[in-house]
C-alpha cells in the first residue's frame, strides 16, 4: 500500500464516521426553526437516547450531542465563549447546574410551560435552569439487622447505634456533597460537621466504589445500612441482571427524613446556554424533557422520580412514589457544596 492510498483509506474512514453521525457542525446557520439543537449533556443514560429520537420524530429538530463530565462541559462552554455552539446544558445534580449558572454559561428563560411543569423548589429562581427528574438520597438496609425506625432520620445515620455498620462512598461524590449541603442549609455548619463525624465513626470501611457497591456490601453482610441514590436500588431491584435482583431481594429501601419534612432530593435538569444559536429549539427540548411523558420515561427506564407532582407514577418507581420529599429549594444546598467538602474533609470523610 502506498502512502497515498493509505491516506485515502484513512480519509474515507473519517468521512464515513462523519456521515454516520449525520451532519454535526453545530452551525447556527443550520439552526432556527425545524433545524437542530446542540446538547451538552452530563447525563449519559442509554434510555435518554430513545427520548431524543422521539423529540426529533415529533418536531423534526435534530439533536447533536456531546456527553461529558459536567464541569468539563462547563469549562468547554467557557472556552468556546460567545461562539459556543451549545444550546442546552443538561446534568444530573443541582450543584453542577448552580456552578454552570455561576460560570455565566447559562441564560434565564421564562417559560409558562416550564413554570407549570416544574415545581418552584426544583428550579432556579431566575429561570437559569429547571429540574425535570428527582432522585432521593436515601438508604438501603438489611431489615434483619436494622429496624425501619433506626434509619428514620438523617441523624440516625450518625448515631452511635450504627457504629461500624454504615457504607457510603467518598466525600467528593456530588450526591454526598449535595446531601451535606442540604444539612448545612437545615442545621448550620457546626451541626452538619458533627453529623459528618458521626457518619465517619459509623463507617464499616473506608469509602470505596459507587452507590451500587454500597448496596451490594449490605447484601454481602459487610455493613447493615448503605447511603444510596434511590434509582440505583430500584434499578437493581427491577433490572435485567438476576444477580442484582438476588442481592437486593432481602433488602429494603428506607427514606430517612430531614427534621420530619421528608428525604433529601436532588434533580436532573437543564438550562439554556448563554449564547445558544438555536435558543427556541433549546427551550422546546427542555420543555419536552419536562413533559409528563418524558418524566414518565425517565421514571420507567432510569428509575428516577418525576419532578412534577401531578405526573402519574409508573413502574418500577411507583411503589416508592409516595415518599415524603423535603421541600427545600435545590439551589439552597447547591451553593453549599464547597463548604460541604471542607466539612467532610475535616471530619475525616475521605
Amino acid at each position: 500500500m502506498t502512502v497515498r492510498s493509505k491516506l485515502l483509506v484513512l480519509l474515507g474512514g473519517i468521512s464515513l464516521s462523519a456521515c454516520g453521525t449525520s451532519g454535526n457542525d453545530g452551525s447556527p446557520a443550520a439552526g432556527g426553526t425545524g433545524g437542530e439543537v446542540n446538547l451538552y449533556t452530563a447525563r449519559h443514560y442509554d434510555s435518554d437516547m430513545a427520548l431524543y429520537e422521539r423529540f426529533t420524530r415529533e418536531t423534526g429538530i435534530r439533536i447533536n450531542r456531546i456527553e461529558g463530565d459536567a464541569d468539563q462541559l462547563i469549562a468547554r462552554m467557557r472556552s468556546e465563549g460567545e461562539r459556543s455552539p451549545a444550546d442546552l446544558f443538561i446534568t444530573a445534580d443541582a450543584g453542577a447546574l448552580w456552578r454552570a449558572e455561576q460560570a455565566g454559561v447559562l441564560q434565564p428563560v421564562q417559560s409558562a410551560v416550564l413554570n407549570e411543569r416544574v415545581p418552584v423548589n426544583l428550579r432556579d429562581r431566575d429561570g437559569d435552569w429547571h429540574g425535570f427528574t428527582r432522585r432521593a438520597r436515601v438508604v438501603a438496609y438489611n431489615p434483619e439487622k436494622v429496624r425501619p425506625e433506626d434509619v428514620d432520620s438523617y441523624e440516625d445515620l450518625a448515631a452511635p447505634g450504627l457504629r461500624g455498620r454504615l457504607c457510603v462512598r467518598s466525600s467528593d461524590n456530588i450526591y454526598n456533597l449535595s446531601l451535606v449541603g442540604a444539612l448545612i442549609e437545615a442545621w448550620g455548619e457546626q451541626r452538619a460537621e458533627q453529623w459528618a463525624r458521626g457518619v465517619v465513626a459509623n463507617m464499616a470501611r473506608q469509602p470505596e466504589g459507587g452507590d451500587r457497591d454500597q448496596i451490594r456490601a449490605v447484601g454481602a453482610g459487610i455493613c447493615d445500612v448503605a447511603i444510596t441514590n434511590s434509582y440505583y436500588f430500584i434499578r437493581m431491584e427491577s433490572g435485567e441482571d438476576e444477580a442484582d435482583r438476588a442481592v437486593v431481594r432481602p433488602l429494603r429501601l428506607g427514606f430517612p427524613s430531614l427534621d420530619g419534612h421528608g428525604s433529601h432530593v436532588n434533580i436532573s435538569g437543564g438550562g439554556i446556554a448563554a449564547s445558544a444559536p438555536n435558543r427556541e429549539n433549546a427551550i422546546r427540548l427542555l420543555e419536552f424533557l419536562a413533559s409528563s411523558e418524558a418524566q414518565q420515561h425517565f421514571a420507567r427506564f432510569n428509575n428516577e422520580f418525576p419532578a412534577g407532582p401531578d405526573v402519574p407514577a409508573v413502574p418500577p418507581t411507583d411503589r416508592y412514589a409516595q415518599f415524603a420529599a423535603h421541600p427545600m429549594p435545590v439551589e439552597a444546598f447547591a451553593e453549599h457544596q464547597p463548604l460541604a467538602q471542607a466539612i467532610m474533609s475535616r471530619a475525616g470523610w475521605r
Partner: protein, 537 residues
C-alpha cells in the same frame, strides 16, 4: 509504550551528523515541539490564572504521598516482573517459550481502566467470587483490590510489558563475552545475572520503568476507580467541587515536575548505553534448556503474567458483557471512529515526531518538552488543552466545527503521545551513520533531501513501529477525547467510560473488549518484530 520498538537498536550509541544548515527541518521540528508544548503551557497559564482550591494541606499531603507510593510500587513490581520474564524468555527454553516470547507483551492492548473495571468487579468483597469463597470455601481473600496495593497490582499488570519489551531487547543484544567473563571469574548463573547482565541492561531498565511510572502518573481514572486517592483526586476535587480549574492546574504542576525528572533520569541512563553491546555481537547467547520442575515453573510464571495482564480481565469483561444486549450499531460506529482517529493520530504524530527527530539535533530542549505530554496527568491534560482550543474555537467558522474539532483532537493526541513515537524513531535514526548522510550530500542532495532519501528509508521500520504504538495508545485515550471531541462523535473508550460512570460495568465490558481486540493485531506485530531482533542470529 515508547520503547517497544527498535529498543534493540537503541543500544547503539547515538551520534548525530553535524549539519550546517537544517533550517527547513528545524522549522518543522519547532512546529512539532510547539504542538506538544501547547497543552503544557495551557496548564501553566491556567495555574497562574487564579487562586487555588481550598483543599486542606493534610489532604494534599496524603494525595501526594499516595501518588508517590503508588509510583514506587508500580516501578518496583513492573521492574521485577518485566525483567524476570525477559530474562527467562531470552536465556532459557521451556514449554510454550516461542509463544510467550511475543504474547507476554499483549497486555499493552488492554487499557488500564478496563483492567480496573474487571478487577474491581471480580474481586469486589460483595461480588460473586468472594461470596462463593466465603460461603463454600470458608475463607476470604487476604487483600482488597480497592486499595493502594490492589491499584499497584492492576497498574503493574497493565504496564509491565514496557519493562519486559525493553529488557528483552537489551538481553537479546547483550554481550556474550561479558556473561562468559563473569562465569570465568567464578560467578554462579544467579550472580552472573545480578552482577553482569542486569547492570549492563540498566539503561533499558531505567527506560522501561520510567515509562511504566509515567503512565502511572498520567493514569486517568483507574486508580480513582479503585478508591485510591492520588493527586488526581485533588485535581478532580479542585475542579469539580471547588469549581477551580486554576487550583486543578496548580496540582498538576508538581506532577509535571515529576515527569520531567523521570525523563531526565531516563535520558541520562541512556547516556551510559555505549558500553552495552555497542558492537554487533555475532555469537549466539548460551541458551539453557530447562527440564522438569524448573521448566514447569517458567511456563507457569509466564502463563500467570499473561493471565493476570490480559486473559483474566478480558475473560471477566466478556462474561459480564454476555449478560447484556448491546447497542451494536452505536458500538460499530464508535469502533470506526476509534480506528479513524487512531490512524489519523498515528500519521500526524509520527510525522511530527519524525520532524523532531530529524531537525532537533540542535534543539535538545524541544525534544524534552515534546516528551512531557506523555506523562501529563490525564485529569489535568483537559485543562491544558482548553486554553489553546479556546483560541481555535473562537475563530473557526461554525460550518467547519466538526472537522476543526477532529483536527484539534488529532493535535491533542500528537501532544500527548509525541514521546511514544519519538523514542523508536530516535532509535531507528541512530542506525544512520554520518557517512551515509555525507554520501547523500556528496551525491547532490540538499539537507532535506538527504534526510528524506537517506535517513527516512533506513529508519522506515521504526516509523511503522512508532505509528502502531501511537495507534494503540489513541484507541485507549480518554481525557483529550472527552473534552475536545465534536458533536455526535463517540469512541469506544468514551462509551466504556460513560457506562462505568453510570455504574453499569456489564455494559462497559463490550466496548472495553473491542478496544482490546482492535489493539491486539498491532501489538502482536510489534512484539513479534522485536522477538526477531537478536543481531547476528
Amino acid at each position: 509504550m515508547a520503547l517497544s520498538s527498535g529498543a534493540a537498536t537503541a543500544i547503539l550509541s547515538r551520534r548525530r551528523p553535524v549539519a550546517r544548515n537544517l533550517s527547513g527541518l528545524q522549522w518543522l521540528a519547532l512546529l512539532a515541539a510547539l504542538v506538544a508544548a501547547l497543552p503544557l503551557s495551557g496548564i501553566v497559564v491556567t495555574a497562574l490564572s487564579g487562586p487555588g482550591a481550598a483543599i486542606p494541606l493534610h489532604d494534599l499531603l496524603r494525595y501526594a504521598w499516595t501518588s508517590a507510593w503508588l509510583a514506587v510500587l508500580v516501578g518496583f513490581i513492573t521492574a521485577t516482573l518485566g525483567t524476570t520474564a525477559a530474562w527467562i524468555v531470552v536465556m532459557q527454553r521451556f514449554p510454550g517459550h516461542s509463544f510467550f516470547c511475543w504474547a507476554l507483551a499483549l497486555p499493552l492492548a488492554a487499557p488500564a481502566f478496563a483492567l480496573a473495571y474487571a478487577y474491581a468487579d471480580l474481586f469486589d468483597p460483595a461480588g460473586d467470587l468472594r461470596l462463593w469463597m466465603r460461603g463454600s470455601l470458608g475463607f476470604d481473600l487476604p487483600f482488597e483490590i480497592r486499595s493502594i496495593g490492589g491499584a499497584a497490582l492492576v497498574l503493574s499488570c497493565a504496564f509491565y510489558p514496557y519493562v519486559y519489551l525493553a529488557m528483552r531487547a537489551a538481553f537479546l543484544g547483550q554481550s556474550v563475552s561479558a556473561l562468559e567473563s563473569a562465569r570465568m571469574l567464578g560467578c554462579s548463573p544467579r550472580q552472573t545475572f545480578f552482577r553482569a547482565a542486569l547492570p549492563l541492561a540498566r539503561p533499558a531498565l531505567a527506560a522501561g520503568v520510567a515509562l511504566a511510572v509515567m503512565e502511572t502518573l498520567a493514569d486517568y481514572g483507574a486508580a480513582q476507580f479503585l478508591a485510591v486517592q492520588t493527586l488526581t483526586t485533588g485535581v478532580v476535587r479542585s475542579w469539580s467541587v471547588f469549581g477551580s480549574p486554576a487550583g486543578a492546574a496548580q496540582l498538576a504542576v508538581p506532577l509535571l515536575g515529576a515527569a520531567a525528572l523521570l525523563l531526565w533520569v531516563e535520558r541520562s541512563a541512556r547516556r551510559g548505553r555505549s558500553h552495552d553491546a555497542a558492537q554487533i555481537q555475532p555469537r549466539p547467547l548460551a541458551i539453557e534448556q530447562l527440564h522438569g520442575a524448573r521448566a514447569a515453573g517458567a511456563t507457569m510464571f509466564c502463563g500467570l503474567l499473561l493471565t493476570l495482564g490480559l486473559l483474566l480481565p478480558a475473560g471477566w469483561l466478556l462474561a459480564s458483557a454476555l449478560a447484556h444486549s448491546p447497542d451494536l450499531p452505536r458500538l460499530a460506529q464508535a469502533a470506526l471512529n476509534s480506528l479513524s482517529m487512531g490512524a489519523a493520530g498515528a500519521l500526524v504524530t509520527t510525522g511530527l515526531a519524525l520532524a523532531l527527530a530529524l531537525g532537533a539535533a540542535r534543539l535538545p530542549l524541544a525534544v524534552r518538552i515534546a516528551s512531557l505530554g506523555y506523562a501529563t496527568p490525564g485529569a489535568a491534560i483537559a485543562i491544558g488543552l482548553l486554553v489553546p482550543a479556546a483560541l481555535v474555537w473562537r475563530i473557526v467558522p461554525a460550518g467547519a466545527a466538526f472537522w476543526v474539532g477532529l483536527c484539534l483532537l488529532v493535535c491533542a493526541y500528537a501532544a500527548r503521545l509525541m514521546a511514544a513515537a519519538l523514542e523508536p524513531i530516535d532509535a531507528g535514526m541512530a542506525r544512520v551513520t554520518p557517512s551515509m548522510i555525507w554520501a547523500g550530500r556528496t551525491l547532490g542532495r540538499s539537507e532535506m533531501g538527504a534526510a528524506f532519501f537517506v535517513q527516512v528509508p533506513i529508519a522506515r521500520a521504526s516509523l511503522l513501529t512508532a505509528g502502531l504504538i501511537v495507534f494503540i495508545d489513541v484507541l485507549k485515550e480518554l481525557p483529550a477525547t472527552l473534552i475536545l471531541r465534536p458533536f455526535n462523535f463517540d469512541t469506544l473508550a468514551v462509551i466504556a467510560n460513560n457506562y462505568a460512570l453510570d455504574e453499569r460495568l456489564g455494559q462497559a465490558g463490550l466496548p472495553s473488549l473491542l478496544i482490546i481486540l482492535l489493539a491486539l493485531p498491532p501489538t502482536i506485530w510489534l512484539s513479534r518484530k522485536i522477538a526477531a531482533a537478536r543481531p547476528g542470529t
